[in-house]
């Protein structure tokens, strides 16, 4: 089953098609039963004693996109990310990278893919203690056989990007946790991959450093035009970093969408509990909290201050407060598409407001 010849030009960078991972001695039988009888996670455990690590994962990651997978420990997110560069083989389903199925890719091609297309950053950083910062950052290039002078130049460049240009000849143990993780990121960037897999890279760091690295990571990824799959157990982090977020529970993806979609429209109680504590001020946009133009009759529309569809609640509060009519017209493509009032803002902040427009 090869698809490389039929891959469309604008194929997503990563595509998961009904991927399962089942752990256990009888995983083969379990997989057969899943295929033939459509067994679920619970049945697989009771009938075969096998644990389902990843349960029917389907998603795509587009070029330039940062895709966050959020889940608590044991939700299967670390397994899932390892399926994307085949550190773990899927039990069922297929993973396509740039339109090419990696399931039965020969060893040499797989090595090439890992070396040039998919980089990875680990939760415990994995810097080799006997190597300097520079030598660690150059590790990927070294095993690819890049000449010493060349890999030195590239590694210095990558370290400079993450702000460690002055630490080249230090050893990992001389660096703080945040700096070590920057080296990990520089090591991944040095190989210039199109996709970076981030396996809970910041979860061991203290909150201030973590936030700083989150912002730097997002900025750097966007600036370099990379795509990323980012694993985290922290919804705030997922919202800060991700263009889209998938929420995982017990190996299954419960919901996938933008931060706003997930916060405004949680798919089930589990997600709702998660997003309950999230501040909506910067997350929810005018498109989600406006009311239809026709429903607003207190003042003529052209007397209102205006804002775009993507103005966040913080900005809308300022505009509404400054307006004589306590309302803001939402403009899209030169036309008024809705009105935001103090009331709609409060409903949006409260959270169980069912948006009239703007959210799929």
């Amino acid at each position: 089953m090869t698809r490389n010849d039929t891959a469309p030009y604008d194929a997503p960078l990563i595509e998961c098609r009904s991927v399962w991972k089942v752990f256990g001695d009888r995983s083969r039988d379990a997989i057969a039963a899943i295929k033939s009888r459509g067994l679920g996670k619970r049945e697989v455990l009771s009938e075969f004693g096998c644990v389902v690590g990843v349960h029917d994962a389907c998603f795509t990651v587009g070029k330039g996109e940062i895709f966050c997978i959020m889940g608590l420990s044991g939700s299967g997110k670390s397994t899932l990310i390892r399926l994307l560069n085949r550190l773990i083989d899927p039990s069922l389903g297929e993973v396509l990278v740039k339109g090419r199925a990696i399931n039965d890719m020969p060893a040499a091609e797989l090595r090439d893919l890992r070396a040039h297309t998919i980089g990875m950053v680990f939760q415990n950083v994995a810097l080799i203690p006997t190597r300097t910062v520079l030598e660690n950052a150059a590790f990927g290039l070294e095993v690819q056989g890049v000449a010493p002078a060349e890999r030195r130049r590239i590694a210095i460049d990558a370290l400079t990007r993450v702000g460690l240009g002055d630490w080249l000849n230090r050893y990992p143990r001389e660096l703080s946790g945040g700096m070590q993780q920057r080296v990990g990121l520089a090591r991944a960037l040095a190989a210039d991959p199109e996709i970076i897999l981030m396996d809970e890279p910041f979860s061991a760091l203290d909150p201030l450093i973590r936030r700083q690295l989150q912002d730097e990571f997002r900025q750097l990824t966007k600036q370099l035009g990379k795509s990323a799959v980012f694993i985290t157990h922290d919804l705030d982090e997922a919202i800060r970093i991700g263009d889209r977020i998938a929420i995982m529970k017990d190996g299954a993806m419960v919901q996938t969408g933008t931060a706003e979609e997930i916060v405004m429209n949680p798919a089930d109680q589990y997600v709702a509990d998660f997003v309950a504590g999230i501040s909506r001020i910067h997350l929810v946009k005018a498109g989600s909290v406006m009311m239809p133009v026709g429903a607003f009759t207190a003042a003529p529309l052209d007397a209102l201050p205006s804002a775009g569809l993507d103005a966040d609640i913080d900005r809308l509060i300022h505009l509404v407060l400054a307006s004589d009519h306590q309302a803001v017209a939402v403009i899209d493509g030169g036309k008024s598409v809705g009105v935001v009032t103090a009331r709609t803002l409060l409903e949006g902040l409260k959270g169980d407001h069912a948006p009239a427009a703007g959210v799929a």
């Binding site: 893919l113 990875m120 939760q123 994995a126 990927g140 070294e142 095993v143």
Partner: protein, 281 residues
């Protein structure tokens, strides 16, 4: 039920196979003996030919480099003291016996340990063999060795080698088995070839454990090399054996001191080699 006939039959078959090996493997054993004794004589003659103070200074220098000048000075002085006790030749012989045995143990033991570190099946086969070697009284190894190789240093080297191999194999295997999983994943995720992953990831992590194995091996060898005095190994072991038979307590104490000196010097130097590999360069 009387099992005596079976026991006798077993013993007889052991005797027969020993006899068969001696009869048919004569050329092989002569070669082994020749090679080991040749190497031993060459090393001993070389070190005896050099003035003793040069050897003492050389060891002092090595100890200074790895342990500091105090240890260096103490090592040189302690070796000179062996000469003062009139035991220089015996000390040099013992050192050569130990070094040859341990080098052989490393040459054989490290590769076996590396493979065992990767292969669970080999580990399962090796484990009971190593257990057996380490539980049997070390004297046992003198018997087959003397049967095949005769009285002399070759027998001592082979018996010492047998005793020195298990720690090298065990700790090498342990070192290669214990590479943290995230570093193995690092090798895979960067697209490293298996050889690169071995040399650049497995080896740095395994090295401290391998070095600890070599250190253990040296200590086992020092224990065995004294026992091997019984089979005419030469060196301090034979001095002690002779002194014990003549009840020459003074001489046996002197030789024991020389053994302790040699053991401590080599132990400390090999230990620091292991430590320096674990941290910074």
């Amino acid at each position: 039920m009387d099992l005596t006939p079976w026991v006798e039959a077993f013993d007889a078959s052991v005797d027969r196979s020993m006899a068969w090996a001696t009869d048919n493997g004569g050329l092989f054993f002569d070669l082994v003996r020749g090679a080991l004794e040749g190497l031993f004589d060459l090393m001993v003659d070389g070190l005896i030919f050099v003035p003793f103070w040069l050897v003492a200074i050389a060891f002092g220098g090595i100890a200074t480099r790895s342990l500091g000048w105090k240890a260096g000075l103490a090592s040189a002085a302690a070796l000179a003291f062996c000469r003062v006790m009139g035991l220089w030749t015996a000390t040099v012989e013992t050192m050569c016996l130990v070094l040859i045995s341990v080098v052989l143990a490393v040459i054989i033991g490290v590769p076996v340990g590396v493979v065992a570190g990767y292969s669970r099946r080999l580990t399962r086969i090796l484990e009971p063999m190593l257990d057996l070697i380490q539980t049997l009284p070390p004297y046992i190894y003198l018997l087959p060795a003397i049967a095949f190789l005769g009285y002399g240093p070759a027998t001592a080297i082979v018996a010492t080698f047998i005793v020195a191999v298990p720690p090298v194999v065990r700790l090498s295997a342990h070192g290669f088995r214990m590479t943290p999983i995230e570093f193995i994943e690092l090798g895979q995720a960067t697209g490293a070839r298996p050889l690169d992953a071995f040399l650049k990831i497995r080896v740095p992590f395994a090295l401290p454990s391998v070095m600890a194995g070599i250190n253990q091996s040296l200590m086992m060898a020092f224990g065995m090399v004294v026992i091997a005095g019984i089979v005419g190994s030469g060196g301090l072991g034979e001095t002690i054996y002779g002194a014990v038979r003549k009840l020459d307590i003074a001489l046996s104490v002197n030789a024991a001191i020389a053994i302790v000196i040699l053991t401590i010097i080599i132990d400390r130097i090999s230990q620091s080699a292991g430590n320096s590999n674990g941290g910074t360069r």
